[in-house]
């Protein structure tokens, strides 16, 4: 049982990590993250990079959708904006530590434009407006050949710092992982501020929020800008990681993937973002292993069903979590934790 955790001051009460144990854990986690690419092997490093990008993008979507209640079916397109922005910035010789914020800013600017209808329309109508944004941006990626390279895509050079090229997964990892940690902490921190609480108020009931003096105009657009900024940075990292930007990468399926990740993880929870994105990134690996075993046990045709199986599992996870655990993995985690914290007094 956990005891002795008294919040003796407001500072303590508001702290991000309130117990010493948590801070120790955080330190260990950071150390593990730093050591990971050296012990994990190159394939796991690759997965970790991918996960880092997914985490940033999913955190952005959770700010918009989970915390502020603005559904976005166009998140992947905002990532695309970031990715192309990096490609263009690198062409102009801008180093990555400036190109990434630029990518975020470009994406945020587009996000502001798309967010404008949110002031007049809500719910399903707004979801369709973001869907339209997804398709319109996809069209721009395909057709604006002088900037995006059209359907052939644009190459992104490796990020380099004073002549040291961040090429190869292990080096890119040290760009992605710290940024992912920073941006997740940033998102977590946002909801200790007035802005973050305003977002939550808008989600819960926007008219009431307005009555309380929260400017819907300012805060809805702010939520959109922040979410798109995250998407833009994630897209920029995507560019440095895969070194190529093509339109079909940033289509509707990726947008849906992020929505699924935050639903499975838990809407309106940074922990949920982490759990959900991790879970959804690892599910295909797990299924692949499953099919591998099935084939090893003599079901030779199992591989043929892998792709459909992946889709079915993907859909079932979304529907299943919505119906049976609407607060997602974060809630399951909290329950498990509570069990251990209260054990053995309440089981």
């Amino acid at each position: 049982m956990r005891i002795g955790d008294f919040h003796a001051s407001y500072r303590h009460d508001e702290a991000l990590f309130d117990t010493r144990a948590q801070r120790v854990w955080l330190g260990l986690l950071l150390a593990a993250l730093a050591a990971f690419p050296f012990v994990g092997g190159s394939y796991l490093t690759y997965l970790a990079c991918l996960l880092g990008i997914h985490l940033i993008a999913a955190a952005g979507l959770n700010v918009m959708t989970g915390y502020t209640g603005l559904i976005s079916l166009g998140h992947a397109a905002f990532m695309g904006v970031g990715c192309y922005a990096v490609a263009v910035a690198e062409r102009a010789g801008i180093p990555f530590f400036l190109a990434l914020p630029l990518a975020g800013a470009a994406s945020a600017a587009i996000g502001l434009v798309v967010g404008i209808p949110s002031l007049r329309i809500k719910g399903l109508y707004f979801a369709v407006a973001t869907l339209a944004a997804q398709f319109v941006l996809g069209f721009v990626f395909r057709e604006w050949e002088s900037v995006t390279g059209g359907v052939r895509g644009a190459n992104v050079p490796a990020a380099s710092l004073f002549g040291f090229e961040l090429a190869g997964d292990r080096r890119v990892y040290f760009l992605i992982a710290p940024l992912a940690v920073l941006m997740l902490l940033g998102a977590r921190n946002l909801f200790r501020t007035r802005v973050g609480r305003a977002f939550i108020a808008i989600r819960d009931r926007d008219i009431s929020a307005e009555v309380l003096g929260i400017s819907l105009f300012r805060y809805k657009l702010a939520a959109f800008a922040i979410g798109s900024f995250y998407a833009g940075v994630a897209g920029g990292l995507w560019g440095y990681f895969f070194r190529v930007a093509t339109p079909e990468l940033f289509g509707l399926p990726l947008s849906v993937f992020y929505l699924a990740a935050i639903i499975v993880g838990g809407l309106g929870s940074i922990l949920g973002t982490i759990l959900g994105a991790t879970f959804m990134t690892l599910i295909p690996e797990f299924l692949r292993a499953l099919v591998g075993w099935a084939e090893a046990f003599g079901l030779e045709q199992a591989g043929v069903y892998l792709a459909p199986l992946r889709q079915v599992v993907f859909g079932l996870l979304i529907v299943g979590f919505l119906v049976f655990e609407p607060h997602g993995l974060a809630e399951m985690w909290r329950r498990t934790r509570r069990f251990f914290h209260l054990w053995p007094f309440r089981t």
Partner: protein, 399 residues
């Protein structure tokens, strides 16, 4: 630290150790055994499954057969493949995984998207020579994509073969008019600019360009445009099947006599058969010899013999032939590199690949071929006639 924390610490430590150990096994075990690994991420399922299954079977059977013959330079081959479902993220992941685990010198990959996504890594690795089912024109470039080659002509090359055919079919001074119908994808747009340039060079008027989505789409409005433009030949590219049959049917309904023409991934017999009556008189370019070709050749006979040993093996398809051909090119590369007592590194294998010239494939191509350009600029135009497909031109070498 409270006891709980300690327990959690132990648990997570164990988990971390487990994760770390996942990446390590198998890696060094193989390097010593003398086996040469051929990695692959073929699209066995997904939208490209119609071809992927044959490609996978062809290359896999070739490896099996070659091992039965004693391998290459005394070393056995090992084929390690995993289905990509034609998804770029998955094929990239499979490539990384197989390269990390087995260090294969040769890799058979996936779509154009895959090839472009791993091109920087291939250059950086400098130890893997890759190929795949994509014939995208940008990829046949020894300077920009040094460790990639393709087992056939680029899409631009295929269009050139068709245009050569059109040009030669002209009876008088006036060349027949051509229309391009292509999909709004990387695949579809690939050869259009160079195709138009080639047409201009040959004096063939391009009367119309139509862009559509691939797959099941309503093409009524597009056919109106075609009807007004009055082309003699309509070149379809960037599709597999749909919407070509619907175009052909509606063009016939509208009383047009234009001939349809297709490129490699439309021209397999299995696809042509699905066109039904709409396929009658269809023309198209295919770089390889069909398995039912009336001219008997040693390699096609071998493919028939090896392929028909297994039940339900798609050995009759051109995809199987393509997979087999990839194996034969791999053999040339490995044989030439190892024969010169060189290590299997990227630059050595690239040099070996480029040294392939005047190579007789034993009948897959009707003429000797070279791989200097990292592609094989040869093709032949075939005609759909009744329930079969017959050659309708010589082997045309371009470029």
């Amino acid at each position: 630290m409270t006891p709980i924390d300690r327990r959690r610490f132990l648990g997570s430590g164990a988990a971390a150790a487990g994760l770390a150990s996942l990446g390590l096994p198998l890696r060094s075990a193989l390097a010593q055994s003398g086996e040469i690994v051929i990695g692959a991420a073929p699209p066995i399922t997904g939208v490209f499954a119609f071809a992927g299954a044959g490609l996978h079977a062809g290359l896999g059977d070739w490896v099996e057969w070659k091992n039965g013959q004693g391998g290459i330079a005394g070393r056995k081959l090992r084929y390690v493949a995993e289905d990509s479902s034609y998804k770029v993220d998955q094929s990239v992941a499979i490539f990384k995984k197989i390269v990390a685990q087995y260090k294969p010198p040769l890799f058979y990959g996936d779509s154009t998207g895959w090839a472009k996504a791993i091109a920087p890594e291939l250059s950086q690795l400098g130890s893997v020579l890759a190929t795949g089912p994509s014939f995208a024109s940008d990829l046949a470039d020894p300077a920009k994509a040094p460790y990639y080659f393709m087992p056939g002509p680029t899409y631009s090359g295929q269009i050139e073969v068709l245009l050569e055919y059109v040009s030669r079919s002209a009876a008088g001074a006036a060349k027949p008019a051509v229309a391009f119908v292509y999909s709004d994808t990387e695949f579809g747009r690939d050869p259009i600019a160079s195709g138009k340039a080639k047409a201009a060079k040959l004096g063939i008027p391009v009367v119309l360009e139509v862009v559509t989505k691939p797959g099941a789409v309503d093409v009524s409005a597009e056919v109106i445009k075609l009807r007004r433009a009055k082309p003699d030949f309509v070149i379809f590219h960037g599709y597999v099947l749909a919407p070509i049959p619907e175009f052909m049917r509606q063009m016939r309904d509208a009383g047009m006599n234009a001939r349809g023409m297709g490129t490699i991934y439309t021209m397999d017999k299995t696809t042509i058969d699905q066109m039904g009556a709409a396929g009658a008189g269809f023309l198209g370019v295919m770089p390889y010899r069909y398995s039912f070709d009336t001219e008997k050749t040693p390699t096609m006979a071998l493919i028939r013999e090896v392929g028909s040993r297994k039940p339900n093996n798609p050995w009759q398809t051109t995809f199987y032939t393509q997979g087999w051909l990839v194996g034969m090119i791999f053999e040339q590369v490995l044989g030439r590199t190892l024969g010169a007592k060189k290590e299997l590194t990227g630059p050595n294998m690239k040099a070996a690949l480029e040294s392939i010239g005047k190579w007789d494939t034993g009948g897959i191509f009707g003429v000797p071929i070279a791989l200097k350009t990292h592609s094989i600029p040869v093709g032949r135009v075939y005609l759909v006639k009744g329930s079969t497909i017959v050659p309708n031109s010589d082997w045309i070498t371009i470029g």
